[in-house]
Point group: C2
C-alpha cells in the first residue's frame, strides 16, 4: 500500500506540470465546464486558470500574506471570471473557525422575538458575522434538534431563549466549546451570560398604575410555568398586591399552559381562560404578561361585553403594531438594546474572553395609553 501511495505521489506533480506546460484551458472552456457541472468553481480551478498554486490563490484572495501585484491581479481576474466564491464549509473545516452565529428563538411569530432577531442580526453583521435564525416553537425537542444542528454546523456562538429553565440542554454546545448567551429567560442548569428585562419590576409598576386608577381586583395572565419570565412576572404582581395591601385571590391568577407557536390554539385557549375569569371572578382589571396572549384576551373582552379602558382596565406586556391604535397600555421592552448586548457578550466570548458570566438586566418602559383606565361610561354613550 505504501507503494501505491508512492506511485500517486509521483504521478501527481507530473500531471500538474504537464497541464501547466501545455497551457491552461482558458477561462471560457473552464467556465463552460463549470456551468455544465452546475457546481461551484473551486480554488483549484482558479489556480489553474491563473497559472499559480492554490496556496497563492488563497493568499491573494484573503490578503493574509503579501503576494506579487501582477500575480494577485491575475488571480483576482481568474476568480472573477469563474465566479469563484470560497467554500465556507471547507474553510471552516480547515480553520476550525466560523463566522456564523446561531439564534434560537422560541416563537417566530412573537413580535418581541422578531424584534430581537432583527437587531441581533444587525449587530452581528456590524461585527462581520452572519446570523442564522431557528424557531423552536418553545418545543424542547425542536430546540434540542437545532442546538444539535448548529453545533454540528460549528457555529461560532449561540443565542438562545430557553424553552425550559431546567430542561434545556445547552451542554452540547458548551461541551463543543461554543459559547452560549441566554436571552429573555434564565437557565438554571448552566451558568451563562444572560440578558433580561426587569420582569418583576415591570409588572409591579403595571399593577401600581392599575391600583392608582382605582382597580382592586387585578387579574393576571401568565405563560407556562417552566420559564423564568412567567415566574418573575407573577412575582411582580404579588409584590405589588402586598405593597397595596390587597389580598391575593387565587381565582384572579391564570396560567396559560399552551406552548408552541400555534397562534390559533393559543388564541382559543387564552380567550377561554379570560372569559372564565371575567365570568367567575369579576376582575376590574387585567395584566397580560405575554404578547401572543393579547389577541385572545381582547377577544374574550368582546365576547363578554366588556369594554377596554371603560369597565375593564388592561395593561399588557410587549408592544405590538396595533397597540397604539387601540390605546393599549404596554410594557415595552428595549429589544434593540437587549439584542445588541447579547451579541456583544457572545462575541467577546467567541473572541476568547472568559470572565465570569454576566447577567444584564434592562429596564422596560411602561407606555401609558387609554386601556389602563376605568372610565365609567353611561351605556348610551357607548357605541
Amino acid at each position: 500500500m505504501i507503494g501505491n501511495r508512492l506511485h500517486k505521489l509521483r504521478a501527481l506533480p507530473g500531471t500538474v506540470k504537464t497541464r501547466r506546460l501545455r497551457g491552461h484551458p482558458g477561462a471560457a472552456a473552464l467556465k463552460r465546464r463549470i456551468a455544465k457541472r452546475s457546481e461551484m468553481a473551486t480554488i483549484k480551478e482558479v489556480a489553474q486558470l491563473a497559472g499559480v498554486s492554490t496556496a497563492t490563490v488563497s493568499r491573494a484572495l484573503s490578503g493574509a500574506r503579501p503576494v506579487n501585484a501582477d500575480v494577485a491581479a491575475r488571480v483576482l481576474e481568474a476568480s472573477h471570471a469563474l465566479g469563484y466564491r470560497p467554500n465556507r464549509v471547507a474553510r471552516s473545516l480547515r480553520t476550525q473557525v466560523s463566522t456564523t452565529l446561531g439564534l434560537i428563538i422560541s416563537d417566530v411569530q412573537n413580535p418581541f422575538f422578531t424584534a430581537v432577531a432583527r437587531a441581533a442580526e444587525r449587530t452581528a453583521a456590524d461585527n462581520g458575522y452572519s446570523l442564522v435564525l431557528c424557531n423552536s416553537d418553545d418545543d424542547l425537542h425542536l430546540e434540542r434538534r437545532y442546538l444539535d444542528v448548529l453545533v454540528a454546523e460549528q457555529v461560532a456562538g449561540l443565542i438562545l431563549t430557553p424553552a425550559d429553565e431546567k430542561a434545556s440542554s445547552v451542554d452540547v454546545a458548551l461541551a463543543a466549546g461554543i459559547p452560549v448567551v441566554s436571552v429573555d429567560r434564565r437557565l438554571r442548569t448552566a451558568d451563562l451570560d444572560t440578558v433580561l428585562v426587569d420582569n418583576a419590576h415591570a409588572v409591579h409598576k403595571a399593577v401600581d398604575l392599575l391600583v392608582r386608577e382605582g382597580c382592586r381586583r387585578v387579574a393576571v395572565l401568565v405563560g407556562p410555568e417552566h420559564t423564568t419570565t412567567a415566574a418573575e412576572r407573577l412575582r411582580g404582581y404579588r409584590d405589588a398586591l402586598t405593597d397595596h395591601q390587597i389580598p391575593e385571590d387565587p381565582g384572579l391568577i391564570v396560567h396559560s399552559q399552551v406552548t408552541g407557536g400555534d397562534v390559533a390554539t393559543l388564541h382559543k385557549e387564552t380567550k377561554g381562560l379570560i372569559t372564565e375569569v371575567i365570568r367567575e371572578h369579576s376582575p376590574d382589571s387585567l395584566v397580560i404578561t405575554n404578547g401572543p396572549m393579547i389577541a385572545g384576551s381582547l377577544a374574550a373582552l368582546a365576547d363578554t361585553g366588556r369594554h377596554l379602558g371603560e369597565d375593564l382596565a388592561v395593561v399588557v406586556f410587549d408592544d405590538m403594531p396595533l397597540a397604539e391604535f387601540i390605546g393599549l397600555t404596554s410594557i415595552v421592552q428595549p429589544t434593540e438594546a437587549i439584542a445588541q448586548q447579547a451579541v456583544e457578550l457572545l462575541l467577546s466570548r467567541v473572541a476568547g474572553s472568559t470572565p465570569p458570566p454576566h447577567e444584564v438586566v434592562f429596564k422596560s418602559v411602561l407606555t401609558i395609553r387609554t386601556s389602563s383606565s376605568l372610565r365609567r361610561v353611561s351605556p348610551g354613550r357607548r357605541r
Copy 2:
C-alpha cells in the same frame, strides 16, 4: 519530501498499533481530555475508544452498511460516552450533500413572512431537513450577502422573497447548482419555481366589497414599486374600478417608498401619506395592501378624526393578531399552504427532479369584519 512522507506513513500505523496494544486510554481519560480541550469529540476518538477503525464507527452510526452487532454496540457506547456528534461541516464537505435549507425573507417583523417561515420550517423538518432563516430587510445588499453565505455554506436549496423583481441576484445560487424557489413575489431575471397568491384578484374583490358598501372614492396604499406584489395589487385595484366604471383619481393612489424593516420609520411615513390623502383627496374608503403599513394608516385615521367602518371603510391585506378585535376586514393569505408548497417544490428539485419551473398561485380569503362598512353614525353616538 517523499522521504518525509514515508516516515510519517510508517510512523502512523506504528503509533496506532502501540496505543491499541497498550490498551486505549478508557472513556474517563478520553472524556477528560476532550473536556479540557472543550472541543467536540471526533470520530477518531470514538474509534479509538471502541477499538475499531473510523470507517466502522461511521458505518455503525449511520447504519449505511451492516456491522457486527457487538461492534456496533461498542461503538454506540463509546460514542455516547464521549458525547460524540458527527461534524456536519466535515460530513457535508465529504459527501457534497447537505440537509439544510435556507429561507431568506424580506421582513422578519411582518407576520405574513413569519407565518411562512414557521410553516416552512415545519415542512422541512418533516422531510428531514433543517431550515435556517435569514432576514434581508428588503435590502438588496443584505439579500446578496445572505445568498452568498448560504451558497458558501452549501445549503441544499433556497427559498427567497426577492427584494427586487429585477435586481435580485439568485444566479450565485443557481450557478452553484443550488435550486431556488421564489415565494410571494416573482423574479423576472430567472425562471424559478414560484409560489404566489392571487394578488390582483384579492384586491379586486376587496374593492368590489367596498363599492357594494357604497364607497366611490376608494384610496389604495401600495408598497414600493420594485416588487411584483405591489404592481399586481395595484392592477387589481384598477381592474375593479374599471369594472365599476369609476374613474381613476391619481390622488387616491399612494405609493409608500419605505423599504427595509424599520417599523418606526414605516409607521411614520405611512401615517403621513394617509393623513395627506385623507385631507387632500377625501376618500371614503381605503385599501391597505401590506400588513406592516396597517398600524401607521390607522394612526392617520385617528389623527384626522376618522372612524374605522363609520366614515371611512377599510380593507387590509394580511391578517394580524389584533385584526379581529378591531374588526378589520382582511385579505388572509394561506401561509401554511404557501410555505408547504414552496418547500415541496424545492425538495423535489433538491432530489434531482428538473421539470420546467412551476408557478403556483393560491387563492386568498377575504375575511369580512366591520371595518369595511360605511355606517353613518350620528356624532352623539360616537364615543
